[in-house]
Symmetry: D2
Subunit: 341 residues, 4 copies
């Protein structure tokens, strides 16, 4: 079987496992007070070019989004996000469970536009009854988006500008950040992100770790009292060093970037094989998720040999499907799949 | 250095690590839909003698408590617990963050008495204004308690009786359950717990796993719609199999019990060395946590060679300290410590 | 000045005030345990043809919506409502503050369609990942809607059917119910509503009371433990009799219906005057809110003599405006306005 | 029947009713934007000697406490209060429902001591694991307390000092403030309260209004964005002027003070009659609530003619009872009762 179903089907990158094994019987204090966590934070600060940044490690994505959003908003505020945003669609109401509304904006292949944010805020405060409505208190974006697409540096700058003007923070969900940083043609580096987003997280779960997400705020004042909030959200790992060791490994010898590049290269190879065959790419993603329309027969045939996901309901003749590569995808599997195709 | 500081200073039992390594590159579907998780659930159902039980795997203790309590209570209800209960003291308000009050009861070395629960409930409903107060909606106990003590089978039966009469669930926090099941002289088995507690969890984090807690409800109707609630609480691990593999290992070849026995045996050895020297045991714990009063000089001297925790503020001449053993504590370290003493 | 701005600009119907004065110095027990409240509940049960119904009096609309929705939903559920629903737009996030998401449906002049509800629910449970999403746990409608429109009996039956099939409750926000019941041509009676909606409220604030909303559930089992929840939501009035006296008066001698008829008759007179002049009615409302497009000059001229509300942003040449009548609107004022026009 | 049961058994002071009647058919805009509300705020600012103070009108006490506390705390913080505090005991978990823990302190006839607050905070931050616990984020006091007792000016200054040092706000629940300000021998004026408490509320419900509480913050920066929070908590009255008119009346011609004096004078008369008869006053209250031990026979006999409340469970021979006077209590009733005694 060939696996293109999701990017969290395997364990961790062998190097991560090696380090976990190697350190397994060491004794360290808990909750992130260990030297591995300290070192991992330093490596991330360095990678971001932000020596003063606050770095916090949490376990999973939904948890991270809920904790950060809860930390950034006041009670009467909501979070602006694309209709298709993970926080709006696929987190079982985790954001609302903390008391906050997700305020939706139109999406363009999963992205939002600075002008829509601006218009929302302008219209909001122009309305005489705005105090009866949920105030836009922050902006949430994902990069790559749920559709694999990426913001350009210019788009991020525009979003940053709009947020500066409105005096609200910009937050980036980087669950798949590694695949975004490694995309061909992207002009956005992790340093740019650390400059332009008040808070963002570097996804580990989908990019080589067993689990774990690293929250970064260039200005630590953005996340005051974050530790007790992490605890309150049930997001504090007792053996915090497990997160430290993993992120230390990911940010040593450029591993995070290399894994991203590997997955993206294979995704591009898959994409090319689809376009070469004349199939329609329905979202043009430069990252590790590829979205293509295939004839239903072909889907049935391929499904015998390869795992991938139907994207929405099955069509009459053809259907949308998603193929995902990751750090663990092998060139052999991709070649075998292209062969099949 | 000799380590008796906490029971979460190391990674996981080598067998757990071996299995994680062995399966690392396998491809499985996410969120606990994998065969390892399926198998782990079966093994736990078997150990509990409850073939129909609902079993859910979560990541950490505070998270598990908050999710289960939120699931069991209606909005106007609170949870009865000892004043010293972890949920009342050391979870940064995680229970209140879900909207529920912790209703405190007197504690006796960390335990509560069925008669106090009964009195609370009787007094509550006898008060004309009870609808203006938070209704006792469930009972929380920990076993071992935060002080290492254990309920007897009879005490559990009494608590169960009181809860049956009041028609409210009894929930056990088993963060250190393995050390309780293995205690000398305990007459409480995991089957008894599954019989007498509506919901309980089997702690992994402190007993041999990297992380993970297994929630068990003999009657699955007690936890309807628990999956989306787990997700909403940010407690759903994407790579659910990591929990499955770990608990599968813990419940294979009696490993969970063996680790408990190992730690308890060494704790008893420590305890004996204290009493032999004439030091006062201030809480008589039959499990892996030992509480002893030591002269301050002795504390200072021992601290050079061994890690342990001051329990409360430092006294004038002597102070209370806690020593903790776990699955990873070695006989050599214990012997070396006794030597020191 | 002529007042058509909102329906909550005056105090209460003179008969309500007379009764409040008359009883002012009487001594009664608090929190709704008084005989006026008892009697008011009986009168409402009678009007609804539901002798067993639970009736609860709360103070205001947002409070009532938040309390009822919190009572009806489980933690993982959200409430289906029109995009334009008051709970989605104008309650400062009161629903989300209780932890629940508002799941939006398309609106048709403020109404939702049973088929859209059905499709939402069907699609939801057809999605493999539905447990990662917020489950539709109830349906919210307003009648009259925020745009003055009304459901037909048949539409309510269809909504009821869909909810029965899905086993979720149907809740009606009746903030302006009096104006809906009195509309010409409506085939929906309060008895129909009590039959078809699991829970609904009879608005007092906008229909003759100083304040107050009466929550009705034909089957009291739908709202178990509602009293402490009302208290918890800060919605319990100490001097509960103030609500009892007001609703007793509203449901004596058909006053509630008469006030509705008065306001609707005058609204229809206004509407006719607009259409007679050739102005475009942009939402065809049979109730006390009227929506018309007027040339900007005319708006400016009329504004000197009459209060009414711009509905949305000002247009280039003409703009949408809303005129509202209520129980306190006088025939003289309406005539004077028609004269002006 | 003679009524000493509670202080919310009647409607409103006749002057309040007269003003409500007089203005009943006037047209004003909603939500507190009317001139009566404006004027009432000015009168309260004047009474408090704080021309810049923020003043907000809410409907009831529990609602006010929940809204203010939610506004003042950050997510990881709780509120320090006496064990017997209304927010801890009699609000159906309204504070916890907003996500915050009530942190209890010892009570002395309903009051707390500054030294206990100081010790709590000092001990809290001295604990290495304080970030795993709920941080004390504000102090709640009631004045008069639930037991009718009052803080002295010096005690308030001490509490203020402790709060200043800890940089947390001091909040006073003044549900019965009028009876406190009018107590014989009190050295605390409303100006002192406005000086020493960051936020407090002036109770209307129990002191002459139909309903209503006035929240005051000398420094309006203490309650930023309070309006949407009031709305979100369901505490915003559509016909806001009802609150404005009531408080305007209460703060005109010294009515609020006069009502307090009236009730307190009669309460003292009752108290004297008890002590003259040799009955034991078990809480020495200088305000409108009086607490006395009476023989059970006497309780039974008196209950035929007068309403008062058993305070706690019935004793064997004698029991504790509470007598309450208010603005509506008549000298005749008090005399008649003394006669009975």
């Amino acid at each position: 079987m060939l696996y293109f179903y999701t990017d969290y089907m395997e364990g961790a990158h062998p190097e991560v496992m090696r380090r976990l094994m190697e350190t397994n019987m060491e004794h360290t204090t808990g909750y992130g007070s260990d030297p591995y966590t300290y070192n991992a934070k330093q490596l991330i600060r360095e990678a971001c070019g932000k020596p003063e940044a606050a770095v916090h490690f949490l376990v999973g994505g939904t948890q991270t989004n809920a904790t950060v959003i809860d930390a950034l908003l006041r009670q009467h505020e909501g979070v602006l996000a694309a209709e298709t945003a993970h926080i709006n669609v696929h987190e079982s109401g985790a954001i609302e469970a903390t008391g906050h509304k997700v305020l939706t904006l139109p999406e363009y292949s999963g992205k939002i536009k600075a002008e829509d944010v601006k218009r929302y805020i302008t219209d909001f405060y122009r309305d005489d009854t705005y105090e009866h409505m949920v105030a836009p208190g922050m902006v949430y974006i994902s990069h790559p988006t749920e559709y694999g697409t990426l913001y350009t540096l210019n788009e991020l700058k525009e979003l940053n500008n709009v947020c500066r003007e409105a005096n609200i923070p910009l937050y980036m969900d980087g669950a798949r950040l590694g695949y975004g940083l490694a995309a061909e043609g992207t002009d956005v580096s992790i340093k740019d992100i650390a400059d332009l987003c008040d808070v963002f997280y570097i996804g580990g779960t989908k990019v080589g770790a067993l689990f774990g997400e690293a929250v970064v705020a260039a200005n630590p004042q953005r996340l005051p009292h974050f530790f007790p909030l992490v605890k309150q959200h049930g997001a504090l790992l007792a053996k915090g060093r497990l997160l430290g060791i993993q992120f230390e490994t990911l940010f040593t010898d450029n591993l995070y970037q290399k894994m991203g590049e590997h997955a993206v290269r294979l995704a591009m190879k898959l994409k090319k094989s689809f376009t070469d065959k004349g199939y329609k790419i329905f979202i043009d993603s430069p990252t590790n998720q590829q979205f293509v329309c295939l004839p239903n027969d072909e889907i049935d045939r391929l499904s015998q040999y390869a795992g991938f996901e139907l994207w929405g309901p099955k069509g009459k003749k053809e259907s949308k499907v998603r193929f995902v590569t990751n750090w663990a995808t092998t060139e052999e599997d991709v070649n075998a799949f292209i062969e099949l195709l």
